[in-house]
């Protein structure tokens, strides 16, 4: 027994929302919508089920179908249903032996790179219903019932399921179903349909010295920036940042990129510390940059939040008033020169410290 519930805009909402205590009150939405008429339900109720329940009477020949196909279908699917440019191919990969057995051998031996519709189709109702409901793509539901039969007959002929003089009808469609090449190739798997169904496999909860596997596949280098620059799509708090995918991966940790300055020796064993930054104008630059948390946002060679120290130096070292410009930028802060993230003013720095940092950026950081 099958029945239909038609939702006309919000017509059914009161039914879904009512509780008995509320039913006596008038609802503000009770005048919205109306019941669907019997004719409307009939027009909407076009589904054709696996057992052909709902299939309207009619018939169509392969020859009629070919004419409709060339006019309305071939531009997307190809004259023989073989085209793989707009949609995956409809026809191909099935044999006379498959039609005899009802199982498509290529599905098991992977001899066809891309499965076609005909290799998968297990129920003819599926094809009939979809053509009737959705084709042609640019004008669905414009085919007459007999035209749907004709188009389906033509597709079946392209797949060598019926001969070229065949006429498909509601009377013989069940017999044609019994010739579909993959009619026995589709099984319902209740293990993953029922909530309490039996899974087909599962793991063991091993905790110590478990079996491991080697890396078999990695993201290819060309896909590194496929989703835009991830450094701009991740938050700037905590111990993680988005990778700068516009550049190759860095050689070292972000936090250690102020190491390895030229002319210095690396004796500090803490790899993530700012280290080996030389003294400028009698000042310990490493201590100065660390104390004022410059290195939280600026790596020596890497952009972190702000630009790298080397990039800053490179950009301004030929500017006439570079030192004064950088002193002002560090002291007053700024935004918009290197990106939208603002640099806060560093008003705590003394003039001599500002001067030393600016000089260091322009010369020593290079």
């Amino acid at each position: 027994m099958r029945f239909s519930i038609i939702l006309m805009q919000f017509a059914l909402l009161p039914l879904l929302c009512y509780t008995p205590a509320l039913q006596a009150q008038e609802k503000p939405w009770q005048h919205l919508g109306r019941k669907a008429s019997a004719d409307e339900i009939k027009a909407w109720d076009i589904d054709v089920r696996g057992d052909f329940k709902g299939l309207p009477q009619g018939q169509g020949s392969v020859a009629q179908g070919e004419r409709i196909w060339e006019a309305k279908c071939a531009s997307c699917h190809g004259s023989f249903g073989e085209l793989n440019e707009v949609f995956p191919p409809l026809i191909g990969g099935t044999t006379a032996q498959d039609i005899k057995l009802g199982r498509v051998a290529a599905n098991a031996n992977n001899s066809v790179a891309q499965r076609t519709m005909m290799m998968k189709l297990a129920r003819l109702s599926t094809l009939w219903d979809y053509v009737n409901r959705a084709m042609p793509w640019n004008a669905p539901k414009t085919l007459q019932t007999d035209e749907v039969y004709a188009v389906v007959a033509y597709i079946l002929n392209l797949g060598s399921v019926v001969p070229e003089d065949f006429v498909l009808s509601h009377e013989n469609i069940a017999q044609v179903q019994a010739k579909l090449p993959n009619r026995n190739g589709l099984v319902r798997f209740d293990g993953m349909w029922q909530t309490k169904g039996k899974p087909d496999m599962q793991n063991q909860a091993c905790m110590k010295n478990c079996d491991t596997e080697a890396i078999s596949s990695s993201l290819p280098e060309f896909a590194r920036n496929a989703h835009g620059n991830l450094s701009e799509q991740n938050r700037l708090i905590g111990g993680l940042r988005g990778a700068d995918t516009t550049r190759p991966a860095a050689q070292a940790l972000m936090a250690s990129t102020t190491a390895n300055l030229p002319g210095t020796t690396s004796s500090n064993s803490k790899p993530n510390a700012v280290k080996a930054i030389p003294t400028v104008a009698g000042m310990d630059m490493k201590a100065l940059l660390a104390k004022n948390t410059c290195t939280a946002c600026h790596g020596l060679k890497n952009k972190i939040v702000g630009p790298s120290m080397q990039d800053i130096g490179a950009r301004y070292q030929n500017k006439a008033d570079a030192e004064a410009y950088l002193i002002n930028k560090i002291k007053s802060g700024g935004a918009g020169v290197w990106g939208s993230v603002p640099m806060p003013p560093q008003s705590q720095l003394k003039e001599a410290e500002l001067k030393a940092i600016a000089q260091w950026l322009l010369k020593e950081a290079q």
Binding site: S4, C206, A214, L219
Partner: protein
Amino acid sequence: MIVAWAMNGEMLRPENGYPLRLVVPGVQGVSWVKYLRRIEVGDERYDTKDETLHYIDLMPDGLHRQYTSIQECKSVITTPSGGQVLMDQGYYNISGLAWSGRGRIKRVDVSVDGGRNWRTARLETPVLSKALTRFNIDWVWDGAPTILQSRAIDETGYVQPKLNQLRALRGTKSIYHNNAIQSWKIDRNGEVSNVQVS
């Protein structure tokens, strides 16, 4: 199954299926139909195009499985995850999400050595049936390259599988329902990337 018209205290937004959509807990998202206009109730499955030709799983023997809708138990570490960078060695809170289409999450284990050894993570409450469940676990990274994994167990006792276990049974043509353990590779430079181990 729920016919939903509102979410988070407001009408459904157009991108979420306004005015009406289905909510089908535990079942793959494609069944959560948006923009409902009509409901037809039947006593037999309909075998329409997508559920007969597309959302089917090809097994190694050439049979297609149909109506595999349940989202089996899965988890994924969201922090750290692919595309992120660990700025430094030291402490991290590993955090992620677990879910099961068959009920509540019972336990989530995390490995920071590519699946060799596992520790049980803390679950954030409330732990609800067929709902996302957040887990957390402490980790101190020593700077060595490694692989992070999480493994969820649901209230039926089902243990989230490894990729090679799924492939051994389902082959490589069954592209849906990949609920295998997710692996994130950590490089020496702190970069986290998506890898498969099998």
